[in-house]
């Protein structure tokens, strides 16, 4: 009964210290008075009566102490006392406090920010209801891009009906291109936006509810249903001024009156989850049973597992269903195409699995920063403790226990790391909210980044951990000191200080070693990044830009598409002749897909007369106009397409070098050259005459191998969109106005589309790598700075300590140069030991980072040497300042000082 009750009383007593103390004072005063009264009554003289009363009471202070101990929380009392004392001493030494807090704030801030990123990408579940049930259903990675990572509507239907593992299966149209939605608001210039087509059960499956209005129903996706649209929260706010009455309003979108049926919550960000680095403005329903039926592979599948179904069960269930899935139900021979190509993986793994290694490396880097900061703090505290050793010795002599002194020093560390944590949290909040708005970085879930409860808990943990780490060594060192020694230790040269110096040297060496590891890691990542930038992309990203062009090639009753192909020829030839004539335009051409963006494939064209092998992924398909290759800066061997390659003339294609090499191995050509030869896409297809061989273009990523590509002309095959690419000697943006004006003159429906520099596509593709590289380089720089600070601190402390010795040596004839050299040599010794250890550790840890490198071995000698030289230079500089001071010591002053 008494335990908790007592605790309550104690806490209450702790909070009411003042009144309780006053009560006790009154009681003690009354007690003394009564005792004196009694003694006087017994006949003693007043002075003696008082003396005896005081003696029998014992010490007042002791009574008070016992009383407090009995009634309250002594531990807390002591803590408050230590806290007050600490704050007072820190206040009196502001330069130390500021340096310590800044170091800690940087280290803790970096740790919180990285933790937030790791938490968002790896630890926290996806922002969907019961997200652990969600799986991404796709084949293992292939060469032929999105077309081989998606499914046809027939396959989707079969999978949805045939599988037993899922509550439901949904998907979205994988080939929506950016700015595919043209919104015409009464009279103004059309506005472009990006929308994604999803299967009608998409939101129900993810568990996302509309913030206003409703999400899609099966009716919305029926063939011939009235067009409806869901707005994302951001677009609703930006484009429609957060109109609260928008539900039910209809707008002209892509020429159709489309009704807004709902607004999605701000927490739903399609791009952040499924298409990192892009923004999606609206969602529209995918009509599964309309034209998409014959588009081939277009759907990416997402499933929600039934409760209790394991991933392994889902995988074997999918393997069971796959053989009965048909590419198109009308072609029985296409059934079974998906065998081995239907594999569920947890959605979370699909989205952020590839980043795991990068994040682990990042986490290690900030952990190292924290360690370096702690070592630095230890050093600072040791220096401070050395200066205070007499204070502690005195306290020890007056009866303070060793524990009590360690406690006080730890309180000091806790206060420092607490202040560091507060500022660090502030820093991290700023950093994280900045990161959350970097829409251009192609990393998933970045926009959902924020400092949450878990990050706060993490902050407290690392603050306490850091305090224990950097407070304990100096604390034990101090409290363990011999009282007599310290009191006697009147000047430089005494044993205690020498021992301190050794501890400090060890700390500096470990700091240099840690900084060395960080620098080498950062150097390797930086070198990889530079190597990535040097990659021959197959096109020239500078001095070129792309803009999306609206066109209408519809021709009524066009049986085989040749009429609309002819119409396209007219439209685009006209546009190009006008654009080419604009001043500053060197070359211009159209493509439907830009490199490093979307892609698709149309089977495997093969040497005519040879049967194509099964199970080989076809080349990626691009539909282009004459001039496109020149505009992109891609060299052609053979000839470019021309406007006379029309719907009625011979079918022509261009292929890239890699594909040409593959075909050459299968075609029985005398000259081993595909140029000028004919290909076919199965016995029923028309001959494809190869008129040009072009350089390999990096179509999916910069740091992978380019695959196979094939190019068809606009005038013979249907493009999915039209991106006008312009090459110029000027700044591409300088052309934006004239080009857009020309386009709008020719077609009033042309929206005010964005003018995208081609360089931007490349930056976007390498933004993830760049992001990690920059963070690690920033951390390494911070580590280098801290290490330099540590070296400077130790050397300058040792110079101060040796002032007398140096003074004597100068008096005996040592030159300033000699003194300078000796101090710097001492510095470099420490640095070299640290660097040697750091290099050893880096070689051992090379495996951790090797998968993140690009054309850089993890033991790249150049990087190691460069980083070691950098560290030595920084160490020499950090040591030079105290060394210079040492060389300027005036022997007379130094010898007189003590």
């Amino acid at each position: 009964m008494s335990g908790p009750r007592r605790l309550l009383h104690r806490m209450w007593a702790f909070l009411r210290r003042k009144p309780l103390d006053m009560d006790l004072e009154a009681e003690l005063a009354a007690h003394l008075q009564m005792a004196i009264d009694d003694n006087i009554a017994r006949g003693l003289p007043p002075a003696e009566a008082r003396r005896i009363a005081l003696v029998s009471m014992g010490g007042f202070e002791q009574a008070r102490y016992r009383h407090r101990e009995a009634r309250g929380l002594m531990t807390l009392d002591i803590f408050m006392q230590d806290l007050k004392y600490t704050l007072r001493t820190l206040w009196r030494d502001p330069s130390f406090t500021i340096v310590a807090v800044v170091i800690l704030a940087l280290a803790i801030g970096a740790n919180i920010a990285v933790f937030s990123v790791v938490n968002t990408l790896l630890l926290r579940p996806l922002p969907f209801q019961d997200a652990q049930q969600l799986v991404w259903i796709a084949p293992p990675p292939t060469k032929c891009g999105l077309s081989c990572a998606t499914y046809s509507t027939d396959a989707y239907d079969e999978f949805r009906v045939g599988s037993r593992s899922y509550q439901d299966v949904t998907g979205y149209f994988a080939f929506s291109s950016a700015d595919n939605l043209t919104l015409s608001l009464n009279g103004g210039a059309p506005i472009t936006a990006t929308s994604i087509d999803v299967i009608h059960n998409f939101f129900q499956l993810l568990g996302v509810h509309a913030q206003m209005g409703r999400v899609f129903t099966a009716d919305d996706a029926r063939d011939g249903a009235a067009p409806v649209i869901l707005l994302t929260n951001a677009w609703w706010k930006r484009q429609f001024n957060a109109d609260p009455n928008i539900i039910g309003k209809a707008f002209d979108m892509n020429g159709m009156q489309t009704t807004v049926i709902g607004v999605l919550p701000a927490s739903f960000d399609f791009g952040a989850v499924f298409a990192p680095g892009t923004k999606v403005d609206a969602i529209t329903p995918l009509d599964l049973y309309g034209p998409p039926r014959n588009y081939g592979n277009i759907i990416t599948m997402i499933g929600r597992l039934k409760p209790g179904v394991t991933l392994a069960q889902a995988v074997s269930d999918a393997a069971r269903v796959a053989p009965s899935m048909c590419w198109n139900n009308r072609y029985p021979q296409s059934c079974g195409n998906y065998k081995g190509a239907v594999v569920p993986v947890p959605l979370k793994d699909y989205i952020s699995g590839k980043l795991r290694r990068s994040l682990v490396v990042l986490w290690c880097a900030v952990g190292t920063i924290l360690l370096i900061a702690c070592v630095n703090l230890s050093n600072l505290l040791l220096a401070r403790a050395a200066a205070r050793s007499k204070e502690f010795a005195m306290r020890g002599a007056l009866g303070a226990s060793r524990n009590r002194i360690v406690r006080q020093l730890l309180t000091e560390s806790l206060v420092l790391s607490g202040m560091g944590a507060v500022f660090g949290l502030l820093l991290a909040t700023i950093l994280v909210s900045w990161l959350a708005h970097q829409g251009a970085i192609a990393l998933p879930l970045l926009s959902t980044l924020h400092v949450d409860g878990a990050a706060l808990v993490w902050t407290v943990l690392i603050a306490v951990f850091a305090a224990a780490l950097f407070g304990l060594v100096p604390g034990l060192r101090m409290a363990g000191g011999n009282v007599y020694e310290s009191l006697k230790d009147a000047g430089p040269g005494a044993t205690a200080s020498r021992r301190h110096e050794r501890t400090r040297s060890i700390l500096v060496v470990s700091e240099v070693a840690l900084a060395c590891m960080l620098l080498i890691g950062a150097g390797l990542l930086l070198r990889s990044f530079l190597n990535v930038l040097k990659v021959d992309l197959g096109f020239e990203p500078d001095h070129a830009a792309a803009v999306k062009v609206d066109y209408d090639d519809n021709v009524p009753n066009d049986k085989d598409g040749s009429l609309s192909a002819a119409k396209r020829g007219v439209i685009f030839q006209q546009i190009l002749s006008r654009v080419d004539a604009l001043p500053g335009v060197e070359a211009a051409g159209f493509t439907d897909y830009l490199p490093l963006g979307q892609n698709r494939s149309w089977g495997l064209p093969f040497p005519k007369g040879v049967t194509a092998p099964q199970g080989i992924d076809g080349p990626l398909v691009y539909v282009i106009t004459p001039g496109y290759m020149r505009a992109m800066g891609t060299p052609i061997r053979g000839r470019d397409f021309s406007w006379s390659d029309g719907p009625k003339s011979e079918n022509v294609v261009m292929i890239n070098k890699s594909f040409a090499k593959y075909l050459d191995a299968h075609g029985a050509w005398q000259d081993h050259d595909v140029l000028g030869k004919s290909l076919w896409n199965g016995p029923n297809s028309a001959d494809l005459h190869v008129v040009g061989i072009v350089d390999d273009v990096h179509e999916e990523n910069v740091d992978g191998d380019p695959g196979w590509q094939i190019y068809y002309p606009f005038t013979q095959d249907g493009p999915n969109a039209a991106e006008l690419v312009i090459r110029t000697r000027m700044q591409p943006s300088a052309l934006a106005t004239s080009v857009l004006t020309t386009l709008r003159e020719m077609n009033p429906r042309q929206p005010m589309a964005e003018f995208k520099p081609i360089r931007l596509l490349v930056s976007h593709a390498v933004s993830g790598r760049q992001f990690f590289m920059l963070l690690v380089v920033a951390f390494a720089t911070l580590g280098l700075l801290l290490a330099a600070l540590g070296i400077y601190g130790v050397i300058s402390y040792s110079v101060t300590r040796k002032t007398q010795e140096i003074g004597i040596r100068i008096a005996l004839g040592a030159t300033a140069g000699l003194v300078l050299r000796q101090v710097i040599t001492g510095t470099l010794e420490l640095a070299l030991i640290g660097i040697a250890m750091g290099i050893g550790a880096s070689l051992a840890a090379g495996k951790l980072i090797s998968s993140l490198l690009f054309e850089t071995p993890p033991w790249d000698a150049g990087t190691y040497v460069a980083m070691a030289v950098l560290l030595i230079a920084v160490a020499a500089f950090a040591g030079y300042i105290p060394a210079f001071r040492a060389s300027r010591i005036n022997p007379m002053v130094a010898l007189r000082a003590n």
Binding site: E27, M57, G58, A70, R71
Partner: protein, 119 residues
């Protein structure tokens, strides 16, 4: 401090205070301390000031209650009285001490037994 006086064992002062209050009724700290000294025949080493730690502990446990009042010679003082819970505690503590006393007595009067059963 005279070395011949008895040092108080842990917890004994609490018991003494409870017993004193049971016998004397409501009383102030000085009175309790004096009373214990008198009863012990000045055998106990008591710094009177430490009685207040004992009093606050007992009060927090709910075994005694306190209120400010006026002493015989008209001094303002805090008076303590035992509560019902305190009486129960006293009974059980006293029983414990009885037993301990018996045990100590037996241990200290132990002699080498005749049949050698001390092994």
């Amino acid at each position: 401090m005279s070395p011949e006086k008895l040092d108080l064992l842990q917890g004994t002062l609490d018991l003494m205070v409870l017993q004193t209050l049971t016998v004397m009724g409501s009383m102030h700290g000085y009175g309790i301390a004096r009373r214990i000294e008198q009863v012990s025949g000045n055998e106990v080493l008591l710094n009177q000031g430490t009685i207040y730690a004992s009093l606050v502990r007992l009060e927090q446990q709910g075994w005694i209650s306190s209120s400010w009042g006026t002493s015989d010679n008209n001094r303002k003082a805090k008076f303590y009285a035992i509560t019902a819970a305190g009486r129960r505690q006293l009974v059980s503590d006293a029983r414990y001490w009885e037993r301990l006393k018996d045990v100590m007595e037996r241990v200290l009067t132990m002699e080498k037994s005749e049949n050698g059963a001390d092994a």
